[in-house]
């Protein structure tokens, strides 16, 4: 038997008795970042593929909300900072080894590009939209010449943004639950799945909805595989990672994770999407709404559980 106690009474706020340095801001931001990345990926990909008319929601309509999503995410990030007035220090340094650093730079690059993409397409949502200032009209007309280049840049940056939300966590070897390189791809796929779900919700065309339901189905299948793969990896790893996985395999996160994230957020929407494809009548909003809910909850659970997993004591 072994008992380890801090007897001098270390009670540093947010560290003891258990690490709680990141509250709701970070998982909410990870969700918004992944969602925006997913939408922007489909928008740029299908634009490049020349399917703007076939998938108008994905290419034109849905991306209009992405600057808002990213802006909201940035606001949450800002609220999370404890030394707020120095936030600009993020942009006086570039640290290749720090995912947070290149994530901050990626956000800096993708935010204006998503706004430009939204500006290109705002008239498809509000036909009477008027930019008022000629300089904006001229700038947009000039940027239209580079639309394909912008689409390519957005596509690459959206993948970086989506995968970074996972790599941000996986870079911390002090938290065994996060310290798996599968987390990057898992968050990317989950983000793309929520992006597809948002497009389904916003779309008014049945054909487009079905196309994205099919895409979402594939993404959900990959996500389920990655989740199983992640826990297999943990159980085949060191004691600290076995302990981390145990929180989900019998421990306190078992019910919320397997029932709400995997069940309600992945398996049931997948079933609903299959039923819809088989022409069984169900409200089309249901499956994508569950996917969005599952994606949000997944990030909250990973953020909280990760901070509970540790090496010492």
């Amino acid at each position: 038997m072994r008992e380890e106690l801090i007897v001098s009474g270390r009670m540093n706020p947010h560290i003891d008795p258990q690490l709680q340095i990141w509250e709701w801001h970070i998982p909410a931001y990870l969700f918004l970042g992944g969602l925006a990345a997913g939408i922007l990926f489909f928008a740029s990909y299908f634009y490049i593929k020349g399917k703007s008319e076939e998938y108008p929601t994905a290419v034109k309509l849905a991306p209009i909300i992405t600057p808002i999503l990213i802006g909201l995410g940035l606001l949450f990030l800002m609220l999370d900072l404890k030394h707020k007035l120095y936030f600009w220090r993020l942009y006086t340094a570039f640290k290749i080894e720090s995912p947070m650093s290149w994530g901050a730079w990626t956000l800096m690059a993708i935010m204006p590009l998503s706004a430009i993409w939204a500006a290109f397409n705002i008239k498809s949502l509000f036909p009477k939209w008027d930019w008022k200032f000629n300089i904006i009209k001229d700038a947009l007309r000039w940027l239209e010449n580079y639309k394909t280049a912008i689409a390519w840049t957005i596509m690459i940056l959206s993948v970086i943004l989506g995968i970074y939300t996972g790599i941000l966590l996986s870079a911390f070897n002090a938290r065994p639950l996060w310290n798996t390189s599968i987390l990057g791809p898992l968050f990317l796929i989950s983000g793309m799945s929520t992006g597809a779900a948002a497009i389904i919700i916003l779309s008014k065309s049945k054909a487009e909805r079905h196309a994205f339901a099919r895409i979402d189905l594939v993404l959900i299948a990959i996500e389920l595989f990655l989740i199983v793969h992640m826990f297999m990896g943990f159980n085949a790893s060191t004691q600290v990672q076995i302990d981390a996985a145990a929180m989900f395999l019998g421990g306190e996160f078992t019910a919320p994770f397997w029932i709400f994230v995997v069940g309600l957020g992945l398996v049931i929407p997948a079933g609903l999407e299959v039923m819809e494809m088989r022409k069984i009548k169900i409200p089309y909003m249901l499956a994508p709404a569950l996917v969005l809910f599952g994606g949000l909850l997944f990030r909250f659970i990973m953020a909280y559980a990760g901070q509970m997993s540790r090496w010492l004591y």
């Binding site: 038997m1 072994r2 008992e3 380890e4 106690l5 801090i6 007897v7 001098s8 009474g9 270390r10 009670m11 540093n12 706020p13 947010h14 560290i15 003891d16 690490l19 340095i21 990141w22 999370d80 900072l81 404890k82 030394h83 707020k84 120095y86 936030f87 220090r89 993020l90 006086t92 340094a93 640290k95 080894e97 720090s98 995912p99 947070m100 650093s101 901050a104 870079a171 911390f172 070897n173 002090a174 938290r175 060191t238 901070q307 540790r310 090496w311 010492l312």
Partner: protein, 177 residues
């Protein structure tokens, strides 16, 4: 130069004098601490073994906190001391999440704070406050590159361990056993 500290777990009685000395010397805000005492009880009665450890930042050679800091606020200072530049720190918490020893905290003013090996004292050739004040003289501080320093001499002759070396951080806090 490679600063390191050794703590003799056979001599430490867990009095917490080092903790108070640090709080006083470094003006640590009330309710916070940069070093702390861990008491380990091993075995079942009556075969018990007790170990006291005065712990703090390990000033790792491969510091995850320096690696993940997005602004370069966390950095290596002279002698490998891991320091935080206050006016570069944004308080994002990445370094706190990255530290397997939980040695960092957010100062009420917003920046991240931690043990500095009392750099302001060591620069002048003095030992850190915790070492200087220890009533059982169980702590040794010095330069590992200098074979005649207190810490070099003591870890040459005694058996020691480091905390979770398997985390790959190369900690520079040696516990004599």
């Amino acid at each position: 130069m490679r600063y390191a500290m050794a703590v003799d777990t056979k001599k430490c009685v867990g009095c917490s004098d080092c903790v108070v000395a640090c709080q006083t010397e470094n003006d640590v805000p009330i309710g916070y601490c940069r070093d702390w005492i861990v008491e380990v009880t091993d075995g079942t009665y009556p075969q018990l073994e007790l170990e006291h450890r005065s712990e703090r930042c390990n000033h790792c050679e491969n510091s995850p906190c320096v690696r993940c800091c997005p602004t370069g606020a966390s950095h290596y200072s002279d002698g490998g001391i891991v320091m935080v530049t206050k006016n570069k720190c944004i308080g994002c918490g990445a370094c706190i999440a990255s530290c397997p020893y939980d040695a960092r905290y957010t100062h009420p003013k917003g920046y991240v704070d931690k043990c500095t090996f009392c750099e302001h004292r060591t620069k002048k050739g003095q030992s850190p406050a915790c070492v200087a004040v220890c009533p059982t003289k169980c702590m040794y501080f010095g330069d590992l590159d200098d074979p005649n320093s207190d810490v070099s001499k003591v870890i040459k002759k005694r058996k020691y361990k480091t905390l979770i070396p398997e985390a790959g951080t190369k900690p520079q806090l040696y516990f004599l056993i």
